[in-house]
């Protein structure tokens, strides 16, 4: 029972480099989300998707891009890495967006920009 899988677990980038954080889920969930967590803070929503081909911005989307070509995968792209993007990134999925349906989280990607 894999659930939500994120890769890589850790990464160090230089300023200006780009990378893609991978997220895949095997629960056939339509809804997927990307959050970032800074030290001592709660999780903040970067982007979300309600199905293949449909994405939208969350609270903190600047500097990021996403795509959703399949139900399973929801990669997050950093084009020009900046020190402010040093954070822990969590991907989540849920069966629906309504009611008390919980989101299921991956174990995160810890990203450092130096």
């Amino acid at each position: 029972n894999a659930g939500v899988t994120q890769t890589p677990k850790f990464r160090i980038l230089k300023i200006g480099q780009s990378m893609t954080l991978q997220c895949t889920q095997d629960m056939n969930h339509n809804y997927m989300y990307w959050y970032r967590q800074d030290p001592g803070m709660g999780l903040k929503l970067i982007y979300y998707s309600v199905g293949a081909g449909i994405t939208d911005k969350g609270e903190v989307p600047n500097g990021y891009n996403v795509s959703r070509s399949t139900t399973e995968d929801f990669p997050l792209r950093l084009e020009l890495a900046a020190p402010s993007q040093t954070s822990v990134y969590f991907c989540a999925s849920s069966y629906s967006g309504s009611g008390g349906q919980p989101q299921h989280f991956g174990d995160g990607t810890r990203l450092s920009i130096l």
């Binding site: 803070m41 709660g42 969590f90 309504s98 989280f105 995160g108």
Partner: protein, 115 residues
């Protein structure tokens, strides 16, 4: 503008006693509240939720209370166990189809349960 606040960064309790974690919110459009537990180097794990039309929800050792007029909720853990030591996040979800299940999180409270 923090819509969900957990004002206690940390809480320390003795094993077997009650742990009470608090959460306040400002947005009247929130219709569901969820509690997540997070261990180091892992993702948050769902614990329990409550609808805004209820004032209490119980699941085993975990009970969540909602005071809608005070815009306040709390998570009670009874009895507390050392394995409960983790960061606890309060999260809220807005009503309506256009919310798409987006969660707004509090800052988290670090719970330490001493044997």
């Amino acid at each position: 503008d923090q819509q969900v606040k957990q004002n206690s960064p940390s809480l320390s309790v003795q094993e077997g006693r009650i742990s009470i974690l608090n959460c306040d919110y400002t947005n009247s459009m929130f219709d569901y509240f969820l509690w997540y537990k997070k261990y180091p180097a892992e993702g948050p794990t769902f614990l329990i939720s409550i609808s805004s039309i209820k004032d209490k929800n119980e699941d085993g050792r975990f009970t969540v209370f909602l005071n809608k007029s005070a815009k306040h909720l709390s998570l009670h853990i009874v009895p507390s166990q050392p394995g409960d030591s983790a960061v606890y996040f309060c999260a809220a979800k807005e009503a309506g189809g256009t919310s798409y299940g987006k969660l707004t999180f509090g800052q988290g409270t670090i719970l330490t349960v001493h044997p």
